[in-house]
Amino acid sequence: MKRYLLTRVGQALVVLWAAYTATFLILNLLPSNPVALRLSGANVQIQDLTPAQLAQIEAQYGLNKPVIEQYFSMLWNALHLNFGQSTSLSLPVSTVLAQRLPTTATLAAFAVVFMLILGFGVAYLAAWVQWRPAKIVLSRVPAIGVSVPSFWVGLLLIQVFSFDLGWFPSTGSNGLSSYVLPAVSMALPAGAVLAQVLTSSFEKVLREPYIATAKAKGLSRATIQFRHALRNAALPTLTLLGLLIATAVTGAVIAETVFSISGVGRLAQQAVLSQDVPVVQAIVLVAAVLFVTVNLIVDLLYPLLDPRIAYIPKVV
């Protein structure tokens, strides 16, 4: 058990390191001039500079050193939560992130909760209702949900719930009510996938012999579905959970842009627009940490929730 834990944590760390390295490679080795990238972040054209100025800027960002050396110094700094200086905001990246993370964390928490409610709610209802037309509609609705662009959902929600009904604010992050609409738009794509997987999982589980046994001993449908089917149907969704949470949370980039919320997502959008390399790299790292951690937790929980799965495969 202890050994399994250590190996899994070690693997997670290796994946994180590799993801950081991959983003470094993409941002520094693709056919783009790193100096020009950073200058365009600060709104300066490279042609306007004298070679001396250029050399000075290269030295300022440490770009005159060999790539390998740059990589190790950046990695070392990133391990100490120092992500360098933002080129467009002229502030340390860690300061900007610390300012903006709480907003996005709240939004993300809302989104994940909505995603779970949406996914489980629709699938549970689809398995529960017996009137055929309703059943068909409920099991087809998620297919529409995965086809809908989340930014468009955001605009639709603003149109209906802010402008027409006036229930929620359309922009900003004042009070919890302003998180509702963006969180719903973030939750929808992932929630729809969750609902699809759960619906087919319910269909399978409800045909299992132990459901027939439960019926035979006279349990009500409600008890059977809640006590016997739900937990077994939910198991296959666990492996997807990491990906779904990541999808919902990265939806913040779009939702915060649509709803003008100044969180990390909006920061990401602006950083890409102004080609602010340090900020982009830091945000990707934060997201990868979240993603890897969620997957790690799911992996560690899995054997607890499903005793049929052992930590270490037994060799016969």
Partner: protein, 299 residues
């Protein structure tokens, strides 16, 4: 073992497809068309996708109005017989702009899915067929790409490559490559152990021949479904990226750009962003439905 009927080398005896013998041409056509005819939804979805793809290549055939022609007096008109989807803030015909915009979006989608399918197929086949350390190295690389959330991976690549239709398409393509690699690998691993591959090996076929003649043709079915399914995903991500402002520069506008432009007029003219969005939903939904129907037919 019976007689070798048509003088082909023994290792090329691929299992015969069901129902191909007997019936005449008309019968065979009907046999092929019947499963499709039984699914009106699939037919409708297919026709709509066909319409959009055709519109991407010859937009003038489907929309006569010039997408960039401004018309001051007619600005911000709601949908009418003259302007099916209304007009935007410069009086440009929105329907025409959507049809012409599909050229950019569909081009991006084809680049993205083409890159992902080609790259993923190559990685998957090599990893699955050769196994050992090649497999280990390739699959770990795929795991790393999968450890970065897709949207952020795309943002990283766009930061490095710059903006426009092709960079965003490449970014999306790289993001969906791992899925293709994994699907292909799983399929190759399955096909590799089937009796006819073993028979071919016993018959003395070289590894390359087995790979190209037996393993590849029998493992691309699920990859095809994935390619169709991922076209839908690619359209959504490409639209998202151009909505965020990383797509084609104005006045050209793909679907995401149109929705973004329209969102400035959400209070007075909601149709400007809602109608292009509805169009995207219809396209992606049709593609998903098509992919699922094909998957059902293959079973």
């Amino acid at each position: 073992m019976t007689v070798n009927l048509d003088n082909r080398p023994a290792h090329d005896l691929v299992p015969a497809r069901e129902g191909s013998a007997g019936a005449g041409l008309a019968g065979r056509l009907w046999a092929a068309a019947r499963p499709v005819a039984r699914r009106p939804g699939m037919l409708l979805a297919g026709l709509f996708v066909l319409f959009v793809v055709a519109a991407a290549f010859v937009p003038n055939l489907f929309a006569s109005a010039d997408p960039d022609a401004t018309n001051g007096p007619d600005k911000l008109q709601p949908p009418s017989a003259a302007h099916w989807f209304g007009t935007d803030e410069l009086g440009r015909d929105l329907y025409s702009r959507i049809i012409h915009g599909s050229a950019l979006t569909i081009e991006g989608t084809l680049i993205a899915v083409g890159l992902a399918a080609a790259g993923g197929l190559l990685i998957g086949v090599v990893a699955g067929f050769f196994g050992r350390w090649i497999d280990a190295v390739l699959m770990r690389a795929v795991d790393v790409v999968l450890a970065v959330p897709p949207l952020l991976l795309a943002l990283t690549i766009v930061t490095a490559l710059g903006f426009g239709t092709v960079p965003t398409a490449l970014a999306v393509g790289i993001g969906i490559t791992p899925g293709f690699a994994r699907t292909t690998r799983a399929e190759v691993l399955k096909v590799k152990t089937l009796p006819y591959v073993e028979a071919a090996r016993t018959g003395g076929a070289s590894r390359l021949r087995i790979l190209i003649r037996h393993v590849l043709p029998n493992s691309w079915g699920p990859v095809l479904v994935l390619a169709i399914l991922d076209s839908g995903t690619a359209i959504l991500v490409i639209s998202s990226l151009s909505f965020l402002g990383f797509g084609a520069p104005p006045p050209a506008a793909d679907w995401g750009g149109l929705i973004s432009d329209g969102s400035d007029y959400l209070i007075t003219s909601p149709y400007l962003s809602l109608l292009p969005g509805l169009f995207v939903v219809a396209v992606v939904f049709s593609i998903n439905h098509l992919a699922r129907s094909i998957e059902e037919l293959q079973r």
